[in-house]
């Protein structure tokens, strides 16, 4: 079975506001799916529903064929779907290594093994030298990389990246793109929320477009760029 994730008619209401409205799509294993849309389109809300931060008001979410709708975030993580946060959330008083170990402890109970896994992930993101640094002292670029390392340590099969390039300079963004492609080469499926259209075009196999809580379009990057409705939705938004 090649479908790793399926959303069926997912809606999320906050009071009277429909943050997500009847969203359906599927992810194939190993692909990178871009999730784009203007500010307030409901992208992070969707991630929150998928990972159990809150349950969807309607609809179903199937991960590897089984329903995970409304499961708690820790269960979702252990089943193999993990996410990063739009506003980075390092464990500020702990070291870089300890941060990643927390992720690794999702899979192992031994501190020794967790340390091994953590160091591996730090190598992948290129921060092995900063293992003993207190996370609170890191600049934003490294905090983002730390967050990726930490979430990789949970050995996800599906990784949700929420604007992981937000606030980074071009050099830092290149590193993240390299990382995303590296992660893909390891067979991990990814869903990426990003504002920068050029990046999304480069890395995505397919793209889903949200607007005002609804799914506006879905397709290959070339199709999406040619889609007039998508262009209209972004009218006024500057293309980087």
């Amino acid at each position: 079975m090649n479908t790793i994730l399926e959303l069926r008619h997912v809606s999320k209401f906050f009071g009277g506001l429909a943050a997500n409205s009847d969203i359906s799509f599927a992810l194939e294993k190993g692909m990178i799916k871009g999730l784009i849309g203007p500010n307030g389109a409901g992208k992070t809300t969707l991630f929150n529903c998928m990972t159990g931060y809150y349950p969807p008001s309607r609809g179903e979410i199937l991960f590897k064929g089984t329903s995970i709708t409304g499961l708690r975030p820790d269960r979702v993580c252990r089943l193999g779907m993990a996410r990063t946060w739009q506003k980075v959330r390092p464990l500020v008083k702990m070291t870089v290594l300890d941060n990643v170990m927390v992720g690794a402890l999702c899979r192992v109970n031994s501190l020794v093994k967790a340390r091994e896994i953590a160091m591996e992930q730090l190598e992948v993101v290129g921060m092995a030298g900063k293992a003993r640094v207190i996370a609170g002292g890191l600049p934003i670029g490294e905090r983002k990389k730390l967050e990726v390392a930490r979430v990789l340590a949970t050995k996800p099969e599906l990784l949700l990246l929420d604007e992981v390039m937000g606030g980074l300079n071009p050099a830092e963004s290149e590193e993240i793109i390299r990382l995303i492609l590296e992660i893909k080469s390891r067979g991990i499926t990814q869903m990426v929320i990003e504002h920068d259209m050029k990046t999304i075009m480069r890395i995505s196999d397919r793209i889903v477009v949200l607007n005002s809580g609804e799914k506006l379009a879905e397709g290959a990057p070339a199709e999406i760029v040619a889609n007039q409705e998508v262009v209209d939705a972004y009218l006024g938004e500057s293309n980087a």
């Binding site: 820790d74 946060w85 020794v112 949970t154």
Partner: protein
């Protein structure tokens, strides 16, 4: 069991100087009553041990897991009352009563936790205070069960024998000293174990960012409750120990907000979230408290000639400073929060780090 091998490995990695110092100090503490004859000195040490247990147990929940309960008197009181009630009303020896106390405290913790852990930050603090106040008022009102405001007075502690051999009849302070020492070492050991295990990582992750930890596979509800269970159990042991040693309890001493604040204070003075913070806190608070109680400070001021014994100030100090220890606690809380929020250990650590970076 790989956990045990891991523990041994970690111990091996500890700098030998530190390990030796710790063992030497522990050894000295064990020999202390054989060498020092003064019951007063033993009494002070017992109070220090008691404070270490109280502060150390709170540390697990408040320091490591970040849940600032200001209602820990609930568990202290559970242990104290369970032990005393069983000993005085049912003639059950305190070493069994203690276990009942632990069970009662864990039960209380499960109930209080299920209410309070849904709340965050200051609301958690307030709820923990309210829950303990409910317990205190219940103890006051359920006079048939607890003697209400009159409290329970211990008439006699049964002698401890194993088989036909008498171990102690509790007529001197020495048995209390050793029990206190063992409990204090136990909580230090448990704290060390927590810090060097997956538990410690999960606790601290929850403290730093509960939602982020949740998304990383940690179930906050379960770990917070686990932390509280450990914390409540040891706080209850402290309460049982206090009850049998002091010999009298009532709701105003063992279930009050003052007691909860004192427990927190021991920990924050020393430095929360560290293994030896509570020890430092105990070593600061107990001598200070005793110095006040025994008029040592007043006497020193008088003999130093700073204050005349006959002057109104002198008379005032003599009569009142002894009762002022809660006032001093209040002042200490304010001073620590304003100037040393990381506690004495944290303060020293920062100074050392600054000095190191200057010379680096």
């Amino acid at each position: 069991m790989s956990i045990i091998t891991e523990i041994i490995e970690t111990l091996k990695k500890t700098p030998p100087a530190r390990l030796l110092t710790f063992l030497a100090l522990t050894g000295a503490l064990f020999i202390f009553p054989q060498v020092v004859d003064s019951p007063y000195a033993l009494h002070i040490m017992i109070l220090v041990f008691l404070s270490v247990i109280m502060g150390g147990s709170w540390n697990i929940l408040g320091g490591y897991t970040g849940q600032y309960s200001v209602g820990h008197a609930a568990y202290f009181g559970s242990g104290a009352y369970a032990t005393m009630m069983l000993m005085q009303f049912r003639e059950i020896p305190p070493w069994f009563g203690m276990l009942a106390g632990v069970a009662a405290a864990i039960a209380a913790g499960l109930i209080i936790g299920s209410i309070c852990f849904r709340l965050r930050g200051p609301y958690f603090v307030l709820a923990s205070i309210a829950a303990t106040e409910i317990m205190r008022l219940s103890a006051l009102n359920l006079k048939d069960l607890t003697n209400g405001a009159e409290g329970i007075l211990a008439t006699e502690i049964p002698p401890l024998s194993i088989g036909s051999a008498l171990i102690t009849d509790f007529s001197t302070k020495a048995p209390f000293y050793y029990i206190g020492l063992v409990f204090a070492l136990a909580i230090i050991g448990v704290t060390w174990l927590v810090q060097h295990s997956k538990l410690g990582y999960c606790f601290q992750a929850i403290r730093e960012d509960q939602d982020a930890s949740h998304s990383l596979g940690i179930n906050p509800g379960m770990y917070k409750q686990l932390s509280l269970t450990i914390s409540a159990a040891f706080t209850s042991l402290a309460g049982s120990f206090y009850a049998v040693y002091i010999g009298f309890i009532d709701p105003t001493t063992v279930l009050s907000l003052d007691m909860s604040v004192q427990i927190v204070l021991i920990c924050i003075i020393g430095g929360i979230g560290t293994i030896f913070g509570p020890v430092v806190g105990a070593l600061v608070l107990v001598p200070l408290s005793e110095a006040l109680r025994s008029n040592l400070i007043t006497q020193t001021l008088i003999s130093a000639g700073l204050v005349s014994e006959e002057s109104p100030v002198g008379q005032f100090l003599k009569e009142n400073l002894a009762h002022a220890h809660v006032l001093i606690y209040g002042i200490l809380v304010v001073v620590v929060i304003l100037f040393m929020p990381e506690g004495v250990l944290g303060f020293l650590r920062k100074r050392l780090a600054e000095r190191r970076s200057k010379t680096a």
